[in-house]
C-alpha cells in the first residue's frame, strides 16, 4: 500500500526525467550503433563503425590506422572548457561577493543586470563580439583613433577570442550559484574569524571559501558542461579553424550527414564529463572521511 503510494507520487518526476532525459539519451546511444544514411538520418544494420571512426582512419586500401585527430579535438575542447570554468570562477567570485555586500535595492537591480543578457539570443550576442573584435571593428577602431596602433590587431579567430566568447556567455551561471551560497553565510562568522586573529587571507581561505565551495562547484558544472558542447563561440569567434567537439558534433548532423558518428561523439563526451564528476565527488567524499 505504502510502496504503491510512493510509486504513484514519484510517477510525475519519473515520467518527466524519463521523457526528457533518458529517452533522448537512449535514442542517441541507439543511433551511434547504426549505419549512416548519406541523405541524413540512420539505417540498419547495427555496427560499431562510428566508434571505430573515432580512433582510426580508414586508408584507401581499407586498413585501419590509429589516428589522434578526434582525441585531440576532445582534449582541446576539455582544455578550453576547463580554462573557461577557471576564468569564470576567478571573475565570478568577486562579482558575487560584491552583490552580497550591497543593500537590498541595489542588489535586486544588479542581480537583474546579471540575468539581463539571457533575454537576448546567444547567437546575436556572440555575433556582436565579432563586430567588436574584427579588424574594422569597434575595438580596433577605437585603438586606431586613439593612435595606439596603426594596423589592426588580430583580435578575432584565435583561442583567446573563443575563450572570451565562452566566458562572456557562461559567466552568469557561475555568479548566481556562488551568490546564493555567499548570501547564506552569517556575517558574524566573518567577524568571529577576525576576532580570532585571522587576517583577510585567512578569513577567505578558512571561512568564506569553504562555505561558498558548494556554490562554486555547482557553478563550475553549469559552466563546464555547456562550454564543452558549445559551438557558437568556437564557430563565430574561432572562425572554425580549429575544430572543437561542439562544432564537430553539429557538423555530423548537418553538412557531413553522419548521424551515427555525431551520436557516438556525444556519448563519448557525456561519458568523459560524467567520469570527471564522479571521480571528483568520490575524492571529495574521501577528503571528508
Amino acid at each position: 500500500m505504502n510502496a504503491q503510494r510512493t510509486l504513484t507520487l514519484a510517477a510525475p518526476a519519473v515520467l518527466m526525467i524519463g521523457t526528457f532525459m533518458v529517452v533522448p539519451l537512449l535514442v542517441a546511444v541507439a543511433y551511434s550503433f547504426m549505419t549512416a544514411n548519406p541523405y541524413g538520418g540512420v539505417d540498419m544494420p547495427l555496427t560499431v563503425d562510428a566508434y571505430v571512426q573515432f580512433l582510426f582512419q580508414r586508408d584507401f586500401d581499407d586498413t585501419l590506422v590509429f589516428s589522434w585527430s578526434y582525441v585531440i579535438i576532445i582534449l582541446r575542447s576539455v582544455y578550453l572548457a576547463g580554462l573557461t570554468t577557471a576564468i569564470c570562477l576567478i571573475l565570478g567570485f568577486p562579482v558575487a561577493w560584491y552583490l552580497v555586500c550591497q543593500d537590498d535595492n541595489r542588489r535586486r537591480t544588479l542581480l537583474f543586470l546579471v540575468t539581463l543578457p539571457f533575454w537576448i539570443n546567444t547567437l546575436i550576442r556572440t555575433y556582436c563580439w565579432v563586430l567588436i573584435l574584427r579588424d574594422e571593428g569597434l575595438a580596433n577602431g577605437l585603438l586606431k583613433a586613439a593612435g595606439v596602433i596603426s594596423t589592426p590587431l588580430p583580435l578575432l579567430y584565435n583561442d583567446a577570442s573563443i575563450l572570451l566568447g565562452l566566458v562572456y556567455t557562461f559567466l552568469p551561471f557561475m555568479v548566481l550559484p556562488i551568490y546564493s551560497t555567499l548570501e547564506r553565510i552569517d556575517p558574524r562568522l566573518i567577524e568571529a574569524a577576525y576576532d580570532l586573529y585571522a587576517n583577510r587571507g585567512a578569513v577567505f581561505a578558512r571561512v568564506i571559501w569553504p562555505l561558498a565551495r558548494p556554490g562554486a562547484l555547482v557553478g563550475a558544472s553549469l559552466v563546464f558542461a555547456p562550454s564543452l558542447g558549445s559551438f557558437l563561440a568556437p564557430d563565430l569567434l574561432g572562425g572554425g579553424k580549429k575544430l572543437l567537439i561542439g562544432s564537430l558534433v553539429q557538423m555530423q548532423f548537418t553538412s557531413s550527414r553522419n548521424w551515427p558518428f555525431g551520436a557516438a561523439l556525444s556519448i563519448l563526451v557525456t561519458i568523459a564529463v560524467l567520469a570527471i564528476f564522479v571521480s571528483r565527488s568520490k575524492k571529495a567524499e574521501e577528503a571528508r572521511l
Binding site: 577576525y194 580570532l196 586573529y197 562555505l211
Partner: protein, 336 residues
Amino acid sequence: MQAMISIENVSKSFLAKGAEAFTALDDVSMRIRDREFFTLLGPSGCGKTTLLRIVAGFDFPSAGTVRIEGADSSALPPQKRPVNTVFQSYALFPHMTVAENVAFGLRMQKVVKSDRQARVAEALRLVRLESMASRLPGQLSGGQQQRVAVARALAPRPKVLLLDEPLSALDLKLRREMQGELKRLQQETGITFILVTHDQEEALAMSDRIAVMSAGRVLQMGAPREIYDNPKSRFVADFIGESNVLPGAIVGHGSDIMVAVRPERIALSMLASGLPGKIRGTITSITYLGLDTLYEITLDNGERLRSRSRQSISGLDAGQPVILDWPSDAERHLAN
C-alpha cells in the same frame, strides 16, 4: 591602578540613508578593572551591544578613545586586539569540528601544533566538553554550542572576554546553570569579562560591577547591591528589580522629588487592625507566586503600588482597605 579597558568620552552615531543620524552612544566613559566581571545592562537599543562591538573592534567610535591596558586601541582592527568575543548566536564555524573551532584562534596566532592541541584540550575541559571534540556544531544542543563558543574565545587566552547576551537563547534552567558556570570560568581563568545583557537578574547574579545604560548613556555604575539598594534615577529603580515610585516632596524644602520603595519592603495590615502606617489603600489583586505573594494596592489618590510578602497575610482579600507601612530607610529619593 591602571584600568584594563578604559572608555573615554566615546560617542557613536550611525548614518541611515534618508533618515537622521542615529546616536547609539552619547559621551560614554567607564573604566573596567583587571579581573573584573563587568556587566553592561540595559533594554534593547540602549547602546550596550554597540559599546561591546567598539571594544571588540567591529565598530569604531565616532568620537572618543578606547584604551586597552592604557594603549589607545580606538582604530585597531579586531585581529590586533587581545580581546575575544562570545557571540549571541555563537557564530561557530559550521564546517569545522568542535576541536577545529576551538583551535582556530591558536592556529591564527601560529601556536605550534603540540601546544595547540594541549590548549584546545584544556579549553574543552574547562567547559566540560572533552567528549564532543570531533563533533560538528550542528550536532550539538544549544547549551553545548554555547560552551564551545566560550571555549573558542578563551583558548587564545585573551586579556578580556566579551560576551554579547550569551545566555539569551537558552531556556531558563540552562541559563541559571550557565550563569554559575561563566562565573566559575571567570574566577578560574582570572580573565576580565565584559557581559552585555538585558536581564537584570543575570547582571545582579554574576557581576562585580554593573553599568546601567539607557538611550546611549550610562545612568549608573556600581556593585550590584549598591545599584539595587541605591538607585539614583527612576529608570534604574524601575529597571533593576521592581520599584514603587511615588511623587513626594522633601519637607521644608518644597522641591518635588520622587520616592522609590521596593515592594518587599512594604508591609500591609488591615485598616481595622489599628496598626500604624504611612498611606491607605485598597487591595485590587492578590497573586500567589510560590515563594512570595504579590499584592496590588490602589491608593486613595488613584496611584497603584505593589507589595511582596513572604507569608500570605491571613484575612486579606481583594477589595479590602489596608494600611501600608515601610521603614524610612527603605525610601530612596530620586531626581525627577
